[in-house]
Amino acid sequence: MILLWYILIPAAAAPLAWLLSRSQPQVARWVAVGGTALPLALVTWQWVSEAGALRAAFTAHGPGAAGLVQGTWLAHVHAAWISPLGISFFLAEDGLTLIMLVLTFAMGLLAVIASWRGITERVGFFHFMILWTTAALAGVFLSLDLFLFYFFFEMMLIPMYFVIALWGHERRVYAAVKFFIFTQASGLLMLIAILALYFIHGRATGTYTFDFTQLLGTRMPSATAFLLMLGFFAAFAVKLPVFPLHTWLPDAHTEAPTAGSVILAGVLIKIGAYGMIRFMVPLFPQATFDFRTVAMILAVIGIIYGAVMAYAQRDLKRLVAYTSVSHMGFVLLGIFAWNTLALQGVVLQIVCHALSTGALFILVGTLQDRIHTRDMTKMGGLWAIAPRMGGTAMFFALASLGLPGLGNFVAEFLILLGTWQVSKWAAVLGALGLVFATVYALWMMQRAFQGEETHALRFHDLVPRETGMYAALIAALVVLGFYPQPLIATARQTVTAVQQITAGTPLSSQANVAAQLIVAAGETQAEAIVADRAPTDGER
């Protein structure tokens, strides 16, 4: 039941915000705060109370430990919807879903707070759109019926389009249309794949259903499976985004208002990762394995190309947008590595990237509100004018480049370590991406905040509202940097479960086989040559 609230609360608050703000725009903001803070509180409460269940659900050795197949969810709602077509209203929540929900509501709340002074026109309608997006996002993460998933997937496009097109910057309409077409077109490819899967399963078993748990393990020729996997991959690859389908992202992120960018970068693009982990790989493990090399190449290109592109930009917001491309390259790498280390890294990267990049977008947005430009050539020496802002920017730039002690480092390290066990060259090139990350992060700091102050800019430093936001994000990143275990423990159930689903396919056996070989090798090499370390009489 609680799952319904996650969707209903923001969905109900949405029109409420619009209607109530006819007389008083400020009301809309507070309704929006409530519409996101309330589900956030709910999901946090659920997280804390289910912590024990999550730990118990995970036993390292049991085969039926926790599983999508066995249906041991934290919560679920399963009601018939359009039974003749096999469509059910199936929502389910496990560890990964929980994390994504926390992220969705937190980012939504952050977006609302960040726009407190930034949005001044059509305030009610704006918050209507934001809340609608939040509701749709919650729906995406909760759905396990493929039709329902597609429903929410498409639904979140519409409010996002409006957010970019109505409250964005100079090229907002172009960016919004581009965003919409890219996502819609790839979504249609996914729809075709879903329908194909529906029919194939129906013909094979006689049951026509969109229920994901029943569609798992559908038998089909490998060529068909590969095509269907590509259909899903297309949608998620555009969302993530994967090079070369990434060109919508810089435009959309740059032209969107701050709240839009925060939700886009913080949650929307993570749907790509979520979709791959939840749906694409478990449905088509063999096809994923066949596609692995290509995907890893694209991932590595994304990491390095994204970073170089970021370095090349003159528009500060565009620079931050390209860093998203680079970081999501790591995510793609980790997903296709498909072992515990890499997947845990992916989950952690999802959360930490949202926090650090969200903060950077807010920072850039508030900077633009102050000096009315995003052009870095018109900036310089801003640290002296606004030292708190400079220090905050430095912190998040360091998070972006993966400084140890912050969550992003643990995430990227786990991903690369997991990748190394599958493909050494991909891990090495990914690690090289960290050097490029340093290049763009430090360049951003130098060009905008350091150096000589040449443009006679004067503006005020951070206000308490902003300081509070950043402080929360900084604290979160530092805690995740030194103690990410709660997040890891929460995701462990899902990570184990999805690997169990693909067990027995070449995808997961590689790491397992390798692990077994190492154990065996250790025992036989016990008699190997031991290095000579005993002191001889050559002592001085």
Binding site: M309, Q450, A531
Partner: protein, 630 residues
């Protein structure tokens, strides 16, 4: 007492947090007290721990303290935990004590700077990171400290960030060391995947048990770790950042580049010595890199005219000596030289800072001169430092450690005549450039007036470091002097004993003689060239070949130029041409095609009835033909 180990890094870290949170609200006095005070406290604790460790050593001569588990997934379970053995004790003593002296010095040096609090914030973070690095019990925590010091060196080099040149120098340092860090992190991947742990002691034991000497995996692991070490320690080929790093305030140079950060590579190799023992080829590479770098740096130092750049190249060359020692398995000898080098290099930098401040910010040694009467404390400090650097016999600590290294480079099992010759030649060059500096700066005619005199907070560290630079070497006397070597005995509990083929009284005695001779000859040559016949030297340097050579050495043998053209310019070019995204034309192309199709189709909507009828007629004809011909 050993349970207080965690406070040693925690105190400076707390200092960082306090200074960061209270930044604007602190007076200079408070910031200085907090900044220097926390490091001072840390030094006190470190000394107490050292005493306790030496007086009553823990079982196995190692102490392990676990704070919490960092994370636990997929078999990887690093902890925030500290490991203390003899080597760590030496390191934390040097870091905290020398660090405190430099902090004290900075309270006066930076007193007129507007970023005073920010400075101490970064300095505290730096000391904390370095302590984490040397105390870490696993390689991942070590890597955290490793990057932490890299970060702080960037922040502090770029400290005067209004000048873009300083920011650029900081960026350069961070990026180049990050290239090395990439090698290190790949090494971590390899080690964990092979041996299933990143904890250092189990890792070393596992490697010793499972890997054959010279096996591919050992060579790969050692080589990757060496890659990381080379970057951090500014050895060839990742050394170009160190001279430019002198853009930061002088205390920063003293702390980071002389006493601590650049020695992180030395620490790493010494800590993972088992891997290097298992990969003798890589160890030889370490020695060769060390020797080549030390010669490279000596020649470069001879041509510099910025006082800090001379000292920077000098650091590079002394680290080369440490690498040389490590390469021939002189593990303890390298640590001994680390300790003595910390004393005299910090001394030299701090004295240089006094000179620079006194002359109102002048760095060019040829605009200095005649300062020996005006700045006596700095003068004597500099003399002692330069003497120690040159390894003048018996009265300096540098002599004992450098002699030990030179002796080991030939006398160890893996010793080699070429390495030994290189080390000796380097020693000769070292004394030449060191005393060149002394004579040019402190003798001769005064070119720039003295406008500021140092007070006690800058003078006291100089005095303390001078004393240490003289007596610091007496903890390890060579064999022919009586064999009093408590430091060696102490370090033998942590590091393998160096195996030597030549260590007799005669051998060590002759070696010491040669080292002394070389040092003294160097000083003599410097005196002749720079004091007696400075004019003749100038004429010689003006001739084409010597001048070209000087320019070549001045610019670090062209490495900057090389890297600029091979790496920087291509990347910048690529960034510029693909600024609007290489894939964008494809996307716009699709849009363009659509527009063309629209144009074509809308051209057919021309409102002319005859055209519509014509098209309909043609269409009808086609359909009829289809049906008929089916």
């Amino acid at each position: 007492m050993l349970q207080l180990l965690w406070t040693v890094p925690a105190l400076p870290a707390a200092g960082f947090v306090v200074l960061a949170l209270l930044n604007r609200r602190l007076s200079r006095r408070a910031a200085a007290l907090i900044g220097a005070g926390f490091v001072g406290l840390s030094a006190v604790v470190a000394m107490l721990i050292a005493v306790s460790f030496i007086a009553s050593p823990p079982p196995g001569h190692a102490y392990h303290q676990v704070l919490w588990t960092w994370f636990d997934t997929g078999g990887l379970r690093p902890q925030i935990a500290f490991y203390l053995d003899a080597m760590s004790v030496i390191f934390i003593l040097v870091i905290t004590v020398v660090g405190f002296l430099i902090h004290l010095y900075s309270t006066e040096f930076m007193e007129r700077d507007e970023g005073f609090t920010r400075f101490f914030m970064y300095m505290n973070l730096f000391v904390a990171s370095m302590l984490v690095l040397v105390l870490a019990d696993n390689l991942l925590l070590l890597y955290l400290g490793w990057e932490g010091v890299g970060l702080c060196s960037y922040l502090l080099i770029a400290f005067w960030q209004k000048d873009v040149k300083n920011v650029y120098a900081g960026r350069k340092a961070f990026i180049i060391t990050r290239v090395g860090d990439t090698a290190l992190i790949v090494g971590l991947f390899l080690l964990f995947t092979q041996l299933h742990t990143l904890e250092i002691q189990p890792l070393m034991a596992g490697a010793a048990k499972n890997w054959a000497t010279g096996s591919g995996v050992a060579v790969a692991a050692a080589a990757l770790l060496l890659g990381g070490a080379v970057g951090k320690s500014a050895q060839l080929p990742l050394q170009t950042w160190l001279p430019d790093a002198m853009a930061g305030p002088t205390p920063v140079s003293a702390l980071i580049h002389a006493a601590t950060m650049v020695t992180a590579g030395v620490y790493l190799i010494a800590r993972t010595n088992v891997l290097f023992t298992l990969a003798p080829d890589v160890r030889l590479a370490v020695a060769i890199i060390g020797t080549v770098t030390l010669l490279y740096a000596c020649f470069s130092a001879l041509a510099q005219h910025d006082i800090k750049r001379v000292l920077a190249y000098s650091t590079m060359s002394q680290i080369g000596y440490m690498f040389l020692a490590l390469g021939v398995a002189g593990w303890s000898a390298a640590i001994f030289h680390f300790m003595t080098h910390a004393f005299f290099k910090a001394l030299l930098f701090l004295a240089a800072g006094v000179v620079i401040e006194a002359l109102g910010g002048e760095h060019d040694i040829f605009k200095m001169g005649g300062l020996r009467r005006k700045l006596p404390v700095a003068f004597w400090a500099f003399i002692i430092g330069a003497a120690s650097l040159s390894a003048l016999p018996l009265i300096t600590d540098g002599f004992y450690s450098k002699d030990l290294i030179i002796e080991t480079s030939l006398g160890a099992v893996d010793g080699n005549a070429w390495l030994w010759l290189g080390a000796l030649a380097g020693s000769l060059l070292t004394s030449i450039y060191a005393f060149r500096l002394v004579f040019v700066v402190f003798f001769g005619d005064q070119q720039t007036p003295v406008t500021l005199r140092p007070r006690w907070r800058m003078q006291l560290p100089l005095v303390v470091l001078s004393v240490l630079s003289v007596v610091g070497g007496l903890v390890w006397l060579p064999g022919w002097m009586g064999g009093f070597h408590p430091l060696e005995t102490f370090l033998d509990t942590a590091l393998p004993v160096t195996q030597t083929v030549a260590s007799s009284f005669a051998y060590t005695g002759v070696s010491a003689l040669l080292t002394s001779l070389v040092a003294v000859v160097g000083v003599a040559l410097a005196t002749v060239w720079l004091v007696e016949s400075r004019a003749a030297l100038k004429d010689f340097a003006a001739r084409p070949t010597p001048h070209a050579l000087q320019e070549f050495w001045l610019h670090g043998w062209g490495f900057d130029w090389l890297y600029e053209h091979v790496f920087v310019i291509p990347v910048k070019w690529f960034a510029r041409v693909s600024r609007n995204d290489l894939v964008e034309p494809a996307v716009s192309g699709i849009a363009w095609l659509n527009v063309q199709a629209w144009r074509a189709l809308s051209a057919s909507q021309n409102g002319l009835l005859r055209v519509y009828i014509g098209v309909a007629g043609v269409g009808l004809a086609i359909i009829v033909a289809f049906v008929v011909l089916r």
